[in-house]
């Protein structure tokens, strides 16, 4: 498999990374308050555009015409996800304001 240059070559290492990342994700995200759930969702959505990295590896390796098409489509979809996701999250968070008078609970 030639496109996998960045291979960690070790299944156990990859599984280790996977399991730790899952635990870390659970730990951090369970602390996000309900009012920030939509930005969390669109923000994590942007992160799932990380498939872009895989898409770049596939599209750039120029293995065959079909693969270039698949890779380029993957790059388009993933870029929409990344760019759109981060921008819309930023726009949304920019709207969350605390009133001047405060108010409080």
């Amino acid at each position: 498999m030639d496109i996998a240059v960045c291979r960690s070559s070790c299944l156990i290492c990859m599984s280790m990374v996977l399991v730790l990342a899952i635990f870390l994700g659970f730990e951090i995200i369970s602390k996000v308050p309900a009012r920030l759930h939509t930005p969390l969702m669109s923000g994590s959505n942007a992160i799932s555009g990380i498939a872009l990295v895989g898409a770049v590896m596939v599209a750039g390796s120029a293995e065959s015409n079909l693969n270039i098409i698949l890779g380029t489509l993957a790059v388009i979809f993933a870029t929409i996800n990344v760019v759109g996701g981060y921008l819309v999250t930023d726009r949304m968070l920019g709207m969350f304001k605390r009133g001047k008078e405060g108010g409080g609970k």
Partner: protein, 458 residues
């Protein structure tokens, strides 16, 4: 140190930035910085990937990034906050599609069969496909391109089971068949796309918060599997983070509806007309905007309870205007937010933020329920099931046991509602028949505008 080492070191930095970015999202004041940090992490990961020496053709990469970037930027700028649920659904789907395509391309260059890689490719393609087509259906339901009602037909569960087993069998053949078989992979792609449609079609609009959260999780898992397939650490880490986030949200949403995930996915809630033993007692008491004005004018504390109806009527700005007038009048105003109000997690918070409502006025369900008995007036705006006392009182009700905002325990309730039609779930709302409930019929936005006008008149 080779380029590969350098790239992998950069991935570590990206992963740290993702984690910190998410961590900063736990607080309102740092959330925006967190999002930026996460974006920087993404930028580093993508740019460093370009250094990999196998990448020989940049032409199509640039085309892809430019096209995708323009579409994404325009979508993010133009989308209205009321359309956020659709947008998130669509983006979920794109993430799934990207993973599917990466898996497909990876399979085509797998010259030597390798069981582990083949398995992860199968998972990436299957979950990516389900995420894509499922998200498109969810988008259609949220954008009301297709009916938001659950679509059910006889034998649905059997058909879905057959489809699912068929996909697994195809997967098994793919994994056992040592020579590469593109036809089998195409079959799996096709089956996964059908499976995604079939999975979301029976789920009703009110259950969309669960579905979107779950699809969000899937898009992460698909990315994770694609990462294992192309053996790339940053994909694994980021995918796992998103997968975990989606699962947590799914769980929160299910709890807020007092239903299990299985029940949401296979229940077809809202399609059945529920028969209740004996109707609710009492009678409906409609009032005019002027009557409502007198009630609100005399109140010391008012709590607005928004629901999906507020989003549909685009009434968030009108609510904010009424809030300002009430505060000038010396009334204490809060908003009570139910976790599943609206069509996605946190939907109401975003809409109210758009209308400039200060976020410290927004109170979560448990906090408001503690003090609700002392509240003079609760104004229910386009919310129904989330304020239905049947969840506490009517043992046979489908929503019995669901945590609700106990507006009926406040002194007076004003319900803004279009008509007496039952809520999305088709359940009678006992609240409308309570002694302390008044109904102000009409479009939420114009009702609120009338109230504002009444205040200005006097």
């Amino acid at each position: 140190m080779t380029i590969e080492h350098l790239v992998n070191l950069a991935y570590i930095i990206s992963a740290v930035l993702f984690v910190f970015g998410l961590k900063l999202l736990t607080s309102q004041s740092t959330a925006r910085k967190g999002n930026l940090m996460s974006a920087v992490g993404m930028f580093i990961a993508v740019v460093m990937t370009l250094l990999i020496k196998d990448i020989i053709d940049y032409k199509w990469l640039i085309v892809g990034v430019v096209v995708g970037g323009i579409i994404g930027a325009f979508a993010a700028r133009l989308v209205a906050m009321t359309q956020m649920p659709q947008m998130v659904a669509l983006f979920n789907g794109f993430g799934g599609m990207a993973s599917l395509l990466v898996g497909w391309a990876a399979y085509r260059v797998m010259y030597n069969f390798d069981l582990f890689t083949a398995t992860t490719i199968f998972i990436a393609v299957l979950i990516g496909g389900v995420t894509f087509s499922g998200s498109i259906v969810a988008w259609g339901k949220l954008a009301t391109v297709i009916s938001g009602r659950p679509i059910l037909f006889p034998g649905q569960t059997v058909l879905n089971s057959i489809l699912f087993i068929g996909t697994l069998v195809a997967g098994g053949i793919l994994l056992m068949d040592a020579p590469i078989s593109p036809v089998m992979l195409l079959t799996i792609i096709l089956l996964s796309l059908i499976l995604g449609v079939m999975a979301v079609v029976p789920i009703g609009g009110a259950d969309m918060p669960v579905v979107i959260s779950l699809l969000n999780s899937y898009s992460g898992i698909a990315g994770c599997a694609a990462g294992l397939a192309v053996q790339n650490n940053i994909l694994i880490v980021a995918g796992a983070l998103v997968g975990a986030s989606g699962i947590i949200l799914t769980n929160v949403m299910c709890k807020a509806m007092n239903r299990s995930l299985t029940n949401v996915l296979f229940g077809g809630f809202g399609a059945l007309t529920v028969q209740q033993e004996g109707g609710p007692e009492g009678e409906v008491k409609p009032i005019s905007a002027e009557d409502a004005y007198f009630i609100l004018e005399a109140a010391d504390s008012v709590v607005f309870v928004p629901g999906y109806g507020m989003a549909v009527a685009q009434a968030q700005h009108a609510v904010h205007e009424l809030e300002r007038i009430l505060e000038e009048n010396g009334t204490d105003v809060k908003y009570a937010i139910h976790p599943v109000a609206g069509r996605m997690p946190g939907h109401m918070n975003v809409l109210l933020a758009e209308a400039d409502v200060s976020y410290d006025k927004l109170v979560e369900m448990d906090d408001i329920n503690r003090i609700i008995a002392g509240v003079d007036v609760c104004v229910v705006i386009g919310a129904n099931d989330v304020v239905n006392p049947a969840a506490r009182e009517t043992r046979g009700s489908p929503i019995y046991g669901m945590p609700v905002i106990n507006v009926d325990k406040s002194k007076t309730v004003i319900v803004l509602k279009r008509s007496m039609a039952a809520g999305f779930a088709g359940i009678e709302n006992n609240l409308f028949y309570k002694d302390n409930t008044r109904m102000l019929f009409g479009d939420a936005k114009s009702s609120l505008a009338e109230l504002v006008a009444e205040f200005k008149k006097k």
